[in-house]
C-alpha cells in the first residue's frame, strides 16, 4: 500500500518536471538522447545494448502505461518503468 502511494507520488512528479533526467520522465510523444545507464543491472544493460539502445542514441517515447514503450530505429521495445528510471537522458 505504502509503496503504491510512494510510486504514485514519484510518478506525478516525474510528469511535471520540465527537464527530464530519466527516460521515465520523458513525456509520451517526445524524443530523448540517452546519456548513460545509471543503476541498471549489467544484465539489463546488455539486453538494452543488444537491441541497439546505447548511450548517444536517440529514442522516441510512445507511452508509459501499462509499460514504457520506446521506438528506436524501426523497432518498438516495451519494458517496465523501473528500467526506464535507470536510463539517464537529455531532452531533445
Amino acid at each position: 500500500m505504502k509503496r503504491n502511494l510512494l510510486s504514485r507520488l514519484t510518478q506525478s512528479s516525474e510528469r511535471s518536471s520540465a527537464q527530464p533526467r530519466t527516460l521515465a520522465e520523458v513525456r509520451p510523444g517526445r524524443m530523448a538522447r540517452i546519456i548513460r545507464f545509471s543503476s541498471a543491472s549489467p544484465r539489463w544493460q546488455e539486453r538494452l545494448l543488444a537491441h541497439g539502445v546505447a548511450p548517444g542514441c536517440v529514442v522516441r517515447v510512445a507511452q508509459h502505461q501499462p509499460v514504457t514503450i520506446i521506438q528506436i530505429d524501426h523497432t518498438e521495445l516495451g519494458f517496465e518503468r523501473e528500467l526506464a528510471r535507470a536510463i539517464e537522458v537529455e531532452a531533445l
Binding site: P42, E46, A50, A54, V67, D73, H74, G78, F79
Partner: protein, 646 residues
C-alpha cells in the same frame, strides 16, 4: 556420420521460420534441444543434398541471457556447421549488423539474409548490400521470405560460402585479455578469438564448454585474465565489447543506408494498429475481444462442439462399441480385453481421452496461438497483462499458459516453456496445478454452482482466486531468484500467414501425439493396475474419514475425490451424480467444488509436471497441493457453517 547443417540465426520475429520453410522441403522435425525444453526445428535442405537446416531460437545477442539464447549458442559451438545463415530485419539494419559483427567474428562460413526487404522499402529505406557485403566479408542478400523473393540467390550463395576474416578492434584491456586467452583455448568450431570474447563477456555456454575442454590450471589463468580486464574498465566487459560492436554497426549502417522519404514507423497501418493494441485504454477493449474470440474458438468451439462431436458421437457411439466388440471377438473375455477396452482400457479410456477430449482443444489452441504469434499480438498481450502478474511476482508472459490452463492444464504445463527462466516456469506450473480449473472440470463446476445460487459461484471463484493470489505471492517470496521484469520487442501487427500458422500447428500436433499422448496411456495403465490390484476401493475407504469428518461431505464423495485425481472432470461429475440424487446440500456443493478445483488436475498433468520439471518437483507439488486443498476445503466448511450455510 552426422549430417552437416546450416544454422539459421537471428533476432526473434525476423522471418526465420518462414525462410526455413523456403529452404527445406515439406517435412520438418520439431524436437527439444538435448537437455533443454527449447524447441529446435530441423529439415533437409532442398537445394543441397545431405545437408540439414536448423532453425534456432531467436537471439538478441550473446552472451546468452535466456535458455533460448543458450540453445543458439550451443548450436554455434557444438554442431558440425557447414554455414551460418543470419536472418536479419532489413528495416532494423543497425541491430542486425550488431549481431552480424558478432557472428562474422566467429569466422565460420556465413551469409546474411536481409529479410523483410518489402517493409524496409515501404519505409523508404534503400540499402547498399554490396557495400555491406564488402565490409563484413560475407554475402549479403535481400529477401522477402513471405513472397519467396531472393531465395534463389540466397541458396546459390549458400552453396559456395566461405569463411570471412572479420575482426573488430576492442579497447586495449580487452584486446590484451583476448590475445592472452586465445592460445590457451582448445580448438572449437568458432575462431579462438571469438570464443575468447564470448568467455570474456561471461557467456554461460562458452564457460561451460571451456570447463569441459580445459584443465583447472588453464581455467584459473583464463579467469585471472578476465578479472584483470574487468578491473581496469569502468563498465562490464560485456558492455564494452558490445558498445565497440555497436559503434561499428552505427558506422556501417550510416554508410549503407539511404532513406528517401523519411517515412516513419508510425505511418503504416500495422504500426498504428499495433500502437492501439498496446494503448493503456484502447488496448483493453481489443484485449477483451481477442480473449473472447480465443475463448470462443478454443473453449466453446473446440472444447464444446468438437469434443461433443468426437467424444459422444464418433468415439462413444461408433468407434468404441466397434472396437470393443472387435477385441472381444478376437480375445474373448480376458484380462487383455479389459486392458484394451475395459473401464480403464487403453483404448476406451486412454486413447478416447487423448484423441476425443484433448486433441480438439489443443488443435484449436495451437491454431489460435499460431495466429497470435504470427500477427505480433503476443508481446502486446504480455504488456497489457503485466501488472496483474507483477502482483504475484511474475511478468506478462505468464498470461498464455494461464489462459491455456482453462482449456487443458496438462498442455498448459508444457507451454510454460515460453517463460524466461526456471523460477517463473516453476511458479506457473504450481499455480496451474493448484488453482486453474481445466475446461472439462469448469463445465461441471459452473453447472453445479449455478444450480445453487450466484452467491455459491462467487464464493467458489473468490476462494480459488484468493488461493491463487496468496500462493503466487508466497511462492514469489519463497522461491530463490528475483522477479524478472518484462522486456519485449513489439513488432508491427501483420496479417498472419496461413501457411506459417498451419505448418507450426502441424509440427506442434505431431509433437503432442508423440510426446503427450503416451502420458495419457501410461496414466490409464496405472489406473488399470490399481483397479485390478484392488487398491482403488482401499484408497477410497482410507479417504472417507477425512472427507466426512473434515470436509463435512457424504461418505460416497470419497470415490469422487479419488476419481477426481485420476481425471479431474470425473471427480466433478461424481459429485454431480451425488447432487442429482439429492445427497448434497448447498454448503457441501461449494466446499466440494472448491476442494476438487484445488486438487491436482489429473494423472496426465502430474506426469507432465514430472517430465518438464523433474520427478522430485512433481512429488513436492503433490505433497503441497493435497494437504492445501483439504485444508482450504475444511476451513471453508467451518467458515460457511458459522455464517449459517447448511
Amino acid at each position: 556420420m552426422i549430417a552437416e547443417s546450416i544454422a539459421l540465426v537471428g533476432h526473434p520475429n525476423v522471418g526465420k521460420s518462414v525462410l526455413f520453410q523456403r529452404l527445406t522441403g515439406r517435412y520438418a522435425n520439431v524436437s527439444n534441444y538435448p537437455g533443454t525444453t527449447v524447441e529446435v526445428t530441423r529439415g533437409a535442405a532442398s537445394f543441397l543434398p545431405g545437408v540439414m537446416v536448423i532453425d534456432t531460437p531467436g537471439v538478441s545477442s550473446l552472451p546468452a541471457t535466456s535458455e533460448d539464447e543458450q540453445v543458439t549458442a550451443r548450436v554455434l559451438l557444438n554442431e558440425p556447421l557447414r554455414a551460418i545463415l543470419q536472418v536479419g530485419d532489413a528495416k532494423n539494419l543497425r541491430r542486425t549488423l550488431l549481431l552480424a559483427a558478432q557472428l562474422a567474428e566467429m569466422q565460420r562460413p556465413m551469409a546474411l539474409a536481409l529479410n523483410m526487404m518489402d517493409e524496409a522499402r515501404a519505409r523508404g529505406l534503400h540499402i547498399d548490400h554490396a557495400a555491406l557485403s564488402a565490409r563484413l566479408g560475407v554475402p549479403v542478400l535481400p529477401t522477402v521470405a513471405t513472397r519467396g523473393a531472393g531465395i534463389r540467390e540466397l541458396t546459390h550463395s549458400l552453396v559456395h560460402v566461405s569463411a570471412p576474416r572479420f575482426e573488430l578492434h576492442y579497447p586495449d584491456p580487452i584486446e590484451a585479455a583476448a590475445q592472452a586467452i586465445s592460445p590457451h583455448l582448445p580448438a572449437s568450431s568458432i575462431a579462438p578469438r571469438a570464443l575468447a570474447l564470448l568467455y570474456l563477456s561471461g557467456d554461460p555456454v562458452a564457460e561451460g564448454w571451456i570447463e569441459q575442454h580445459t584443465d583447472a590450471q588453464t581455467r584459473q589463468h583464463l579467469a585471472e585474465q578476465r578479472a584483470q580486464a574487468q578491473r581496469v574498465l569502468d563498465q562490464s566487459v560485456a558492455a564494452v565489447i558490445q558498445q565497440t560492436r555497436l559503434a561499428w554497426a552505427d558506422q556501417a549502417t550510416a554508410d549503407a543506408i539511404s532513406s528517401h522519404a523519411k517515412a516513419d514507423v508510425r505511418s503504416s497501418l500495422g504500426a498504428s494498429l499495433g500502437r492501439l493494441a498496446a494503448h493503456p485504454i484502447w488496448g483493453l477493449p481489443i484485449l477483451a475481444v481477442v480473449l473472447y474470440v480465443m475463448y470462443w474458438f478454443v473453449g466453446v468451439f473446440g472444447a464444446g462442439d468438437l469434443v461433443g462431436l468426437l467424444e459422444e458421437n464418433l468415439f462413444g457411439e461408433t468407434l468404441n462399441p466397434w472396437m470393443t466388440s472387435l477385441v472381444q471377438g478376437v480375445l474373448g473375455q480376458s484380462l487383455l480385453t479389459d486392458f484394451l477396452v475395459g473401464e480403464y482400457g487403453l483404448w476406451t479410456m486412454g486413447m478416447t481421452y487423448a484423441l476425443a477430449l484433448i486433441l480438439p482443444i489443443v488443435t484449436t489452441f495451437f491454431i489460435a496461438f499460431g495466429i497470435l504469434e504470427d500477427s505480433g499480438y503476443l508481446p502486446r498481450l504480455a504488456a497489457l497483462t503485466n501488472r496483474i502478474f507483477a502482483a504475484i511476482g511474475l511478468n506478462g508472459r505468464a498470461v498464455l499458459p494461464m489462459v491455456l490452463g482453462l482449456g487443458c492444464v496438462t498442455m498448459a504445463t508444457m507451454t510454460t516453456r515460453i517463460l524466461d527462466n526456471k523460477r517463473d516456469r516453476l511458479m506457473v506450473t504450481l499455480l496451474l496445478a493448484l488453482a486453474v480449473p481445466c475446461s472439462a472440470q469448469l463445465g461441471v463446476v459452473m453447472g453445479m454452482l449455478a444450480s445453487v445460487s450466484l452467491g455459491a459461484t462467487l464464493w467458489w471463484a473468490g476462494v480459488v482466486v484468493g488461493v491463487l493470489l496468496a500462493v503466487g505471492w508466497l511462492a514469489a517470496r519463497v522461491l530463490p531468484g528475483e522477479r524478472s521484469m518484462l522486456f519485449v520487442e513489439l513488432p508491427p501487427l501483420r496479417l498472419p500467414q496461413v501457411s506459417n500458422v498451419l505448418i507450426k500447428t502441424l509440427a506442434r500436433l505431431e509433437w503432442y501425439i508423440k510426446e503427450v499422448v503416451p502420458l495419457f496411456l501410461i496414466g490409464t495403465a496405472i489406473l488399470f493396475a490399481l483397479d485390478k490390484l484392488g487398491v482403488l476401493p482401499g484408497l477410497i475407504q482410507a479417504g472417507q474419514p477425512l472427507v466426512t469428518g473434515w470436509l463435512g461431505l457424504p461418505a460416497e464423495s470419497s470415490a469422487a475425490f479419488l476419481m477426481g485425481f485420476l481425471r479431474r472432470d470425473f471427480g466433478a461429475t461424481g459429485l454431480f451424480a451425488l447432487e442429482s440424487a439429492g445427497l448434497l446440500s448447498p454448503l457441501q456443493i461449494v466446499v466440494g467444488m472448491v476442494t476438487i478445483t484445488l486438487f491436482v488436475p489429473c494423472v496426465a498433468s502430474v506426469m507432465m509436471i514430472a517430465r518438464e520439471r523433474g520427478a522430485r518437483v512433481a512429488l513436492s507439488m503433490l505433497a503441497l497441493i493435497f494437504p492445501l486443498a483439504l485444508l482450504v476445503g475444511g476451513l471453508l466448511f467451518r467458515l460457511l457453517s458459522a455464517l449459517g450455510w447448511s
